[in-house]
Amino acid sequence: MYAHSVELDVSKCTGCTTCLRHCPTEAIRIRGGHAVINEDRCIDCGECIRVCPNNAKKAMCSKFEHYQHYKYKIALPAPSLYGQFDNLDDVDIILQGLLDIGFDDVFEVAQAAELVTEYTRLYLKTPGIKKPVISSACPAVVRLISLRYPYLRDNLMPILPPIEVAAMMARAKAKQEHPELEDSDIGLYFISPCAAKVSYIRNGFGKYKSKIDVVISLKDVYFKLLGAMKKSETESPTINSKSGMIGISWASSGGESSAILNDKYLAADGIENVNKVLDAIENGNIPQLEFVELNACTGGCVGGVMTIENPFIARTRLHSVRRYLPVSQNRLSGDMSYVPENCYSSELPEYTPIARLSENFSESMRMMAQIEKIRSALPGIDCGACGSPSCRAFAEDLVRGMVEDVSACKVMKKCD
């Protein structure tokens, strides 16, 4: 069972159907007056959190205050954090702020992203791999592929995402600098822009289990940082950022792929566009590509549901943050010509066919015929009042036995 990170506050939900109509995998229904998420279908993209007019949905995250038992706390900020602050052109101030709010050290995920970029370039040269290689950095996309695009599973890049590479590096660094620390003394805190990454950390990738200990929300840290950064305005930071333009670019759509230095790539963002691109790849009707970067959120991770700033403004801010940085500060050592073994994730996520009506083909055929019959009698206006996202979905829910009878369609009753 996949552990999810989207939570509903039933007392705030009015059953307004907004999220119902926006869910890209039709995972939501309104039952008993409020939204209900079908966990088998949810990809944690955060779309429902974004559109809810009543703030009834939120991403589940740990609070920093509640996880103080680690002796040595390391913050791993996602690069999208850097795009949240007004008038800030020096990443060091943010990193200093993280130390000031109680972390013992900071390890930037952007650093690891630069290495993953180098690994990707190497991986693309591997003979016999399935092209285009699809980025596996956005967990909502990885899950979408495992539910809907079985044929593209082998196209997923089997290299660990930057968060995991960062986790390994951060732990190694702490142990080197503080040999007295036990493994259990070190806590790795990922500062996440989205619910999908929270779920990914709880579930892992295939059989791979995440090395992150605690996930906290970017929003949460943002407000703490604002105060801390004010205080440190007068003193210069004691910590230096070690990421370059490439690592920071990963926060917005097109950053990961453009850094591959190969013009045969495509970058798409926003879950609807992602679906369109995956459909096109599956049908084989896109031009020859080497690499495809897909982000569930509009604008990329700067558009994650736990960010503060509008993604387009955040992207512009990232430009000014990056302006005077070296292209990359994390390179492979000169003679390294392969991806280290421990950066591969050996397992692909399993294919779970959510759309399937029944395990038995004849039964599926029978159900489908029934669905079509019911559907042709429904008004076809997809109003959502029945609690299902469309008339077709309502017909399917009836046939699957998830709705008791057709009278849930209020519109049809009136017509009688």
């Binding site: 009506l357 029944s358 079509e372």
Partner: protein, 140 residues
Amino acid sequence: MSESLIFHFDVDGEDFTSAGQASVQVKKNLRRLGISPEIIRQVSIAMYEGEINMVIHAHGGSADVVVNEDKIEIILADKGPGIADIELAMQEGYSTAPDSVRSLGFGAGMGLPNMKRYTDEMTIESKVGEGTTIKMVVKL
């Protein structure tokens, strides 16, 4: 043996930008039936190519997909100009596609050969000035 399911689509010859949508819909339906990803891919590619051909070469037409217990049939029918030399049209690389669609990547002359490759049976009936009917079968 359960009854066969028929999905019918009208393929609009006027709206080039909507070409390819019937194949997307078919794919969704086949997924619901739990048909294997390989078969779905075969059907949707064959269907896509046929649909595009009807739009580009024949001012639209109709597509019917019939799902049986043991096979999927795809029937594409149009009232377009017809194909004078079917053998020639079937050759890889043969194309009469106008320049306007070549810039979009169509016109490689690979459509009909791909339809044959991805299906188990394919027959073309065509009369110049009357239209074309293509039947394809993918076995389950």
